[in-house]
């Protein structure tokens, strides 16, 4: 279980997260919701240690992560699929997967497991990541994070800009990981995806977590989403 309490963080003197608390439980998809600029991506970066915290705590199964250097945090078991995929563009698919495997010293078995999840990647092992199609890049970004065999998976808008069949595939994998017991923290903008996937939702507004709702409440009260995210 990943637990963050009262996170404050910012870029230099500009504070973007004022008070964010959230919990991502194993076997659940927790959606992180909010309008543009509410601090969703910044929250994920803060959890990964890429955005320095000024106060607040992050713990994974009771172990404090907030005072670890950024490169130690993934080794505790957090896989990160950043916004815009952020692949190592000139590395091949095989090399990218190797980087993921090295993070936590995973071996051949994990490599096979990940390639079985995304058979398309197996056909493109020697291709440079930057030359893959958008959907394949998203598969690779997801595969890279799964190579850690993480306890928690952070997904930042994984279906942004993809064609429907790819969205379907990424969503299937997300659900599969949830059912295997991973804790998933998902940033998502599409209403239908939120309603279909979320076991729990945390709403952010201008750098503060303002409300948490479970799936039952999201379905019972459709106005909640419109009120919080309404355009």
């Amino acid at each position: 279980m990943l637990e963050a309490t009262s996170l404050r963080a910012g870029y230099g003197p500009v504070e973007v997260l004022h008070d964010v608390s959230l919990t991502a439980r194993a076997g659940e998809i927790t959606c992180l919701l909010g309008r543009n600029g509410a601090g969703k991506t910044s929250t994920l970066k803060a959890l990964m240690g890429l955005l320095p915290l000024t106060s607040g705590t992050v713990t994974l199964d009771g172990e404090a992560l907030h005072d670890l250097p950024a490169h130690e945090i993934p080794k505790r078991g957090i896989g990160y699929v950043p916004q815009g995929r952020r692949l190592f563009k000139e590395l091949t698919v095989a090399e990218t997967i190797e980087v993921g495997l090295m993070t936590r010293g995973e071996g051949r078995a994990t490599r096979e497991w990940v390639l079985d999840l995304f058979p398309r990647l197996r056909e493109r092992l020697n291709q440079q990541a930057g030359t893959l199609s958008g959907g394949e890049q998203q598969m690779l970004a997801t595969a890279r994070a799964l190579c850690l065999r993480p306890k928690v998976l952070l997904l930042d808008e994984p279906t942004e800009g993809l064609q429907p069949s790819m969205i379907e595939l990424i969503r299937d994998v997300t659900v599969k990981m949830r059912d295997e017991g991973y804790a998933i923290l998902l940033v998502e903008q599409r209403m239908d995806a939120i309603l279909a996937l979320a076991d729990r939702a945390v709403f952010l507004e201008t750098g503060r977590s303002v409300e948490t709702a479970d799936a039952a409440r999201l379905h019972a009260d459709p106005d909640l989403l419109h009120h919080r995210l309404g355009v």
């Binding site: 490169h71 692949l87 590395l91 190797e98």
Partner: protein, 308 residues
Amino acid sequence: MEFGPHLLLAVLEGLVTASILSLTAMGLSLVFGVMRVVNVAHGEAFMLGAVLAWWVTGLVAGHPAVGFVLAALTAPLIVGALAAASDRLVLKRLNYDPDRTIVATIGLLYIAQQTTLMTFGPDARPVEPPFNQRIALPWLERTEEGWTWFYPWGLSITSYKLFVIAAAAAILVAIWLVITRTRAGLLMRATQQDSETAQAFGIPVGTVYSVVFGIGAALAALGAVLVVPIQQAHYLMGGEPLLLSFIVVIIGGLGSLPGTVIAALLIGLSDGIISVFFSPTLAKIIATLLVAMVLVFRPQGLLGKAQT
């Protein structure tokens, strides 16, 4: 001497220059490629390597080869360690800000120069080559009996210069293999592509930067160790390798390692040939002009990729 043998001699001398230059420029290119730092103090790593090579060879008695091997092992190591330490102490604290790292490395340049002057003095120091046989080179000439080999007067090279060319080639191949085939190389390339995401996959980017900065300086020092038996060590010798390395790196494409080697060959050979037939000054003028032309017509360099 006739034109043909003369040209062969110029090409060989140019290859020696190109070998040293490709090592030095490779260090600069590696540092820029991975860290996006323009290291103005790179020439001083070369100078320190040369001066340390002289100092180390002076410590041991016996055959010159003993001192040379010792220098080739220790000088790059010491210079690399100094560079890694200055990365930790200075560049890291500037957050690798592009403008401030340039100013900081100018500072490192003067510190290195003046420390060397105060420690070892202003004299130029020779180092004895480990071996130095003169090898006469044959040339083909048409006589009444057809094509025959003969040895033109003055057409020769020393065994040490041939060794420099071979050693530089071997070192370049080794670097290439490390970068493309090993895990350490993979960490470096991932950091180069996206340092923030690299951290999210457990790569200690700070350590990678220090190591790369150290390797970059060590390559310059290694080039200098190879060159001191040909050219004397002096505390002001860092200027020319710095200028030529920048020329090579700009022509080859910033951060492109194959481009760096090609450009080093181009600059080294043209330097050798033009220096022999015309003058060394003209060689520098043409090299600098070439940089201007590359910047105008192909700003990303021969093999560089356009920034997107």
